[in-house]
Symmetry: C2
Subunit: 180 residues, 2 copies
Amino acid sequence: MGFEYSEAAQVLSRTPSTLREMLSGLSEAWVNGDEGEGTFSPFEVVGHLVEAETSNWLPRARVIRAGDPSAAFPPFDRYAHRSLHSGKVLSELLDLFARLRAENLREVESWNLTGADLRATAQHPQFGSVTLGQLLSTWVVHDLGHLAQIARVMAKQYREAIGPWAEYLPVVNDRPRPTG
Amino acid sequence: MGFEYSEAAQVLSRTPSTLREMLSGLSEAWVNGDEGEGTFSPFEVVGHLVEAETSNWLPRARVIRAGDPSAAFPPFDRYAHRSLHSGKVLSELLDLFARLRAENLREVESWNLTGADLRATAQHPQFGSVTLGQLLSTWVVHDLGHLAQIARVMAKQYREAIGPWAEYLPVVNDRPRPTG
């Protein structure tokens, strides 16, 4: 698929409600279990998504929109949520994520993006020139990667409980992944 | 986590609504895109979950409940949905899955399972003796593995669109998985 904002928005607008259906009201063992030292629990993934909503996608998109292809993206700390959200409960984070996502989608929709807008560029600290279309596509894939991560992390909590079926269900044997 | 029916049911009861939030109303490109020859689209994953709900989990659990540890599980065809659901639309499959899942959870709840019930066994065609607790745990992990699969398959549709970010988002590079 090539990037089409309307198709991207279908996924982006569903992520908050998908997370709420998946996680809201689960016991602590599901919400706070992780994959071991240095990995994210489902709770932490939601915190990371909140943080990316405020500090990553729209700030970067606005840099590209400003029209200087040599401009650099502002920095993003993928562990910032650990201090920012340590006192919160999951339902607060889910509500906050839903609100921030809706605001961000309204802003992007207000841009009425053209093909030329999507080809505009700025400088990524590692990749060099990247387009607005690539950035907005990455927003979608980042959501989906973290949904897959939450499902995997939850599945692993039952790795011992499933006994011999672990052989047939590779999701419980996957290695932890980079969290970006 | 050890298996506790109440915790397992938290996940099992949420899967139909999670899938509905994630998939209902998406464009065909998201719903029908797969990972290449011989792999499942999100539509096909939902069909497979429906089929497992009728032919896998409860039929196997009933064999264990019948009390003969030498009894063998009935066969399950993991590709049966391809003929069974070829004429259906996604919303029908999502509704059917929700109905079947609710019925199955009501049946399992009616058993008021004890620790001894969960340790009862029957014969898996590959693994030999497996317990009811292992089977019911596997039902949960199977759901989560397929949620992760749907997110991964959708993410891969944007593999080209994200350009250089593919390096940072391993979900788009994952190999297809066994579909059981």
